[in-house]
Symmetry: C2
Subunit: 372 residues, 2 copies
Amino acid sequence: MKVESFIPPLRTLMGPGPSDINPRVLAAMARPTIGHLDPRFIELMDSIKELLKYAFKTQNEVTFPISGPGSAGMEACFANLVEEGDKVLVCINGVFGQRMYENVLRNGGVPIVIEDSWGEPIDLNKVEDALKKDDDIKIISFVHAETSTGVLSDAKALGQIAKDKIIIADTVTSLAGSPLYVDQWGLDAVYSGSQKCLSAPPGLSPVSFSEKALSKIKTRKSKVKSWFLDLNLVLNYWSGDQARSYHHTAPINSLYALHESLVLLKEEGLENAWKRHHDLSSYLENQLKGLGFEYLVHPDYRTPQLNAVTIPEKIKDKLFREILLNQYNIEIGAGLGPLAGSIFRIGLMGASCTYKNIDYLINAIKRISINY
Amino acid sequence: MKVESFIPPLRTLMGPGPSDINPRVLAAMARPTIGHLDPRFIELMDSIKELLKYAFKTQNEVTFPISGPGSAGMEACFANLVEEGDKVLVCINGVFGQRMYENVLRNGGVPIVIEDSWGEPIDLNKVEDALKKDDDIKIISFVHAETSTGVLSDAKALGQIAKDKIIIADTVTSLAGSPLYVDQWGLDAVYSGSQKCLSAPPGLSPVSFSEKALSKIKTRKSKVKSWFLDLNLVLNYWSGDQARSYHHTAPINSLYALHESLVLLKEEGLENAWKRHHDLSSYLENQLKGLGFEYLVHPDYRTPQLNAVTIPEKIKDKLFREILLNQYNIEIGAGLGPLAGSIFRIGLMGASCTYKNIDYLINAIKRISINY
């Protein structure tokens, strides 16, 4: 067994996440660990909650990071909100909608599925029809920005259509990259990830729950199937006054990092961050089109931070990504599921969304193509 | 809203975890993030698995860190192993045994409880009797080192008594601090935490599953209630050959840190680490007894890394801990549950287990007591 310290290569992360991390965030992560019940740590928790409310555009008191990756955040929403027999309308137009379906099943819910093509947004008419057809539907769930395709669905309109239901939205890729108004749009439970447009290391999942969602959770007839993610318990640690009671040991240093990434977001301004993602995605698009790449997704519903482009015939998917990684230290994403082999997913998330990265990527593609 | 970087105080962590972190581990955590499917990251994953096998003294192929704190590791064991109606013998002698009970219930199992006093180890006779009385018991679960009391139960003997059952053991506090032989003792599913005697930041839970455990998981009739923790899915990412398929985004930087902490453990040698915990705990004991503290737990079954001592009458629990924290930056732990207010829990875990820390603590206690 080779036993030596691991020194990672210095990559440029332009895939579907994790994204590049600002050195200030990495430095924060390496600060000395303190206890999870330390009064100074409680202050940090409060500050993280305030900054997440800013990022989500919400006044929801219950806004905090789950101590696990986005998948744990997804599960926190479904495990707490879905009870045995609850009908849940699940909108699927990519990988992450499918996961929602699995989550409904495992929590004893009854999923009712609406499917749209990968690369298309959720069809509002179908949702409207499905809700009309079945009064018993209690919850609707959808992915705001599908990381598998780069499609942005109309969360605002979905919020209107389903305003009498509990709305669960996956905002993993949209948070801090695209306009997102949790309160205005009436989203009741949202989850995200630290490693996308917030550009903190992976491992935390910011969530936010509305009063409507909390009242469903508080009046559950059965216990949440997950002890670790049971909000009734987690909130004894993350909410309330000074006295926080121990539930689990929070990932202290990861929270230092998330906090610093949120401080950076506040310094830039949320709307400025949205604009940066929008503008630089247009710049990337012009460059990529000049090289023969076509976008999978129509511009009307494309999310700027995840650019899915079809691979020109002369380029071999895996080989090309390997050259990018090995010769240029650039990571881009492969296609998932039915799109494997036919698209690249080029991320412009958070700290990765810079002219410097785009110019480097475009010129690397040019150089590889010449020698191909 | 005050928006500024968070600079934590420099604490000496002598509570029940997190423990002090070696600067090499903090430095590892701050290295540049790479992707969770990066070939270099796959190498790191393999190295972590090998080192965890070393730490657990196991050849179990399925030995890896769950992407969440110890509570998530506990849930991974119960959610995967317990099926609807499974009878589980749960040994409770502190807080963490109680959590096991909750985990059995939430996964649809039928808990059969054996209770021992807080401060006493699990009574082997009771376990033997319970197993004789009911042939249907499929699983037995116990806590090796109870962090709430500092009691070390006889995991070796329990492994013998229950060798026909699936044995789940909580090794959160014991791993790397006390002798632990997962294979020799016949433990089938164990979970631990990164922030105790491994002295990495909190947020990861090393687990290990025997072939017997895996075969129960593979022949389940129902799906695991947690998608995030379903081993059948997680192992597509953590096991197998080169081709790892995406399940969730691993907490990259936290894994850098865990790896470095394991490299440090290998450099010291596991048996040397056990001995250090043992020897320094004796040293601490002598000092504390000189100051009027009494140990809660009999020396025959006391775990060296967590020293539970009754608080002398003249010392006020909360005030005293506050002075230690505010004037000396020393964190020690309070009592939990029925022991709240009557004991201190003094941790000597991993990098916190040094003469330097003990001398500093003892002298701080002396200085405070003089001015009290």
